[in-house]
């Protein structure tokens, strides 16, 4: 059952009003292109510099994680989720753990809940810092990359001390945390918050108010609220269009029900609004960390669960808010030690496929800015 790709049609000839005869043509962007942030291939149909159509080709790093999950135990599955959205690994870990805990009807200790929330927000900050640096670099400003990585390094140091890893954490486990936090955790996190509160206005001064940057993002790639909902776009990308989709507010989990923070909702829906939404979200993350860091309850960091977890028969769905949007874990269990079927609803997947809708009619240079503000992480999309 070999399937054939439909033959490429001859590109249509376009008659311009000034009498010039032009032809549309195809350009391959990627899979190895610096602005795709991973292995994403875009087949662009172009008329001059104007984009007529974009066709994303994905799957270059498809590892069949969902199939592997059908073989693995629930404890092993947690580790696989790090390899999807590697910039939101704590949140991905947490999503699987929450789903398993929901199925087992286990109540996680307060200490674990608060630490999980702090870690999630630190991860969100680190992800947004990296995105900010890379976004500037995509538009030609190398300095932002250095600034972003300088500040992200402090978070990575906290993670390294807490769980021994800098990228794939594997720290949150079903029942709580794998082990207790490091004695330095609170001190270093507070030092980071103090440091970053001074640096974040610097981000604004360097990029947000830069005339070149504003001209390249304002009014570019406008996404309406209705389209954001219809295409299933989530995260800061959708909230910049006014779609209230923050799972932390909608269905609070861990300690989000007891912290005070704003859901950032903007109206414009253009590239600059998507940029601004993430900058404002960083302030909210700092606010959440400040509220919790001095109030970590004493006590156990985990409840005892069996080494090989067997979930009861049934279906369990858990949504969390990662740095990119709504991440969902859908477990169909038949009572064995592995799930019958496990589906990861990754935020980047839906966010990527709105690209054609957003960038139609824009210039190639704008496409880079639009893609940057979607904040795609390819392993998350390919799974």
């Amino acid at each position: 059952m070999k399937e054939q790709q439909p033959p490429l049609e001859e590109p249509p000839v376009v008659e311009n009003p000034d009498g010039l005869r032009t032809e549309e043509y195809f350009v391959n962007m990627g899979p190895q292109h610096p602005s795709t942030h991973g292995v994403l291939q875009l087949v662009l149909t172009i008329n001059g510099e104007t984009i007529v159509n974009i066709e994303p080709h994905i799957g270059y790093i498809h590892r069949s994680i969902e199939k592997m999950c059908e073989r693995d135990t629930y404890r092993q599955i947690v580790h696989l989720t790090d390899r999807m959205d590697y910039l939101s690994c704590h949140m991905n870990n947490e999503a699987v753990c929450l789903a398993v805990e929901k199925a087992l009807e286990v109540e996680v200790p307060e200490r674990a809940k608060v630490v999980r929330t702090i870690l999630s927000e630190l991860t969100r900050l680190a992800s947004h810092q990296l995105w900010w640096g890379v976004m500037g670099m995509d538009l030609g400003a190398i300095t932002t990359f250095l600034y972003g990585f300088r500040d992200r390094e402090m978070i990575n140091d906290i993670f390294e001390e807490t769980c021994g890893a800098r990228l794939t954490m594997n720290y949150i486990a079903p029942g709580g945390l794998m082990y207790d936090i490091h004695p330095n955790f609170q001190r270093r996190t507070k030092a980071f918050v103090e440091h970053f509160k001074k640096k974040l206005p610097e981000y604004d001064r360097l990029l947000s108010d830069n005339i070149i940057f504003r001209k390249r993002t304002e009014g570019i790639g406008i996404l309406s609220k209705e389209d954001a909902i219809a295409f299933g776009v989530t995260g800061p990308t959708a909230r910049a269009s006014g779609f209230s989709c923050d799972v932390r507010k909608k269905q609070p989990y861990s300690a989000y029900d007891r912290v005070d923070f704003e859901e950032i909702l903007l109206e414009a829906g253009d590239s600059f609004a998507r940029y601004k939404a993430r900058i404002l979200e960083m302030w909210e993350s700092l606010k959440i960390i400040e509220q919790l860091i001095d109030n970590i309850p004493e006590g156990e960091h985990q409840v005892k669960t069996r080494q090989v977890i067997k979930l009861p028969k049934g279906e369990f769905y858990q949504r969390v808010e990662t740095a990119r949007g709504e991440f969902g874990v859908y477990i169909i269990s038949d009572g064995k030690k592995s799930p019958y079927r496990l589906k990861f609803r990754s935020p980047g997947f839906s966010n990527l496929f709105v690209l054609n809708h957003l960038a139609k009619g824009a210039k190639i240079a704008d496409l880079v800015a639009i893609m940057s503000t979607l904040d795609l992480v390819m392993p998350d999309i390919d799974r």
């Binding site: 059952m1 070999k2 399937e3 054939q4 790709q5 994905i58 799957g59 498809h62 069949s64 969902e66 199939k67 592997m68 059908e70 073989r71 929901k102 389209d227 909902i229 219809a230 295409f231 299933g232 989530t234 779609f243 209230s244 989709c245 909608k250 009861p312 028969k313 049934g314 279906e315 369990f316 769905y317 949504r319 709504e326 969902g328 859908y330 169909i332 592995s338 019958y340 079927r341 589906k343 609803r345 997947f349 839906s350 990527l352 496929f353 809708h357 390919d382 799974r383």
Partner: protein
């Protein structure tokens, strides 16, 4: 909400949300829809003003070889009312009649998801504008997420 759907579509099977009496359910209310009524129900759920399920947040394909069908599971949410509902549509069998109607024109979010389900499970979505493999290469043989899939080179032992 449930009553309203039952009233309009009386012969659709309703699976209640998990509770004391129904321990094996899901946390959402579910409806098992015959393939020929799927599009009618989808349009009803989206366009009826006090249902308004406008946000498809997850679409999953599941293989049930013992029951002899493939299943597509649609997770829907109403962004206005904040309610969720799940639709389950089943194909007639797993071989030549693995067909379901597309909902990609009703919720554009379904477009890439249906391509993925077609790629990994082999459900053919009739009416889909561009039903090609998404994650695997175009010349791949078989559908890896099926339970009886065998790949002699990179087999994942279940």
């Amino acid at each position: 909400m449930i009553e309203k759907i039952k009233q309009r579509f009386p012969d659709i099977e309703h699976l209640p949300a998990r509770s004391e009496e129904h321990p094996e359910g899901s946390e959402f209310h579910q409806f098992v829809v015959p393939a020929d009524q799927l599009r009618d129900l989808a349009l009803f759920l989206r366009d009826e003003p006090d249902l308004a399920f406008d946000y498809l947040f997850c679409l999953t394909g599941v293989d049930w070889p013992t029951e002899g069908y493939l299943e597509a599971v649609y997770h829907l949410e109403s962004t206005r009312q904040g309610r969720q509902v799940v639709l389950r549509a089943r194909t007639a069998n797993r071989e030549e009649s693995a067909h379901l109607p597309t909902v990609s024109d009703i919720w554009p979010a379904a477009n890439p998801h249906e391509r993925e389900v077609y790629d990994l499970l082999g459900i053919i979505f009739d009416g889909h504008p561009d039903l090609r493999r998404l994650l695997l290469t175009d010349d791949w043989v078989g559908h890896p997420l099926r339970k009886d899939y065998e790949d002699p080179v990179n087999m994942i032992e279940l």
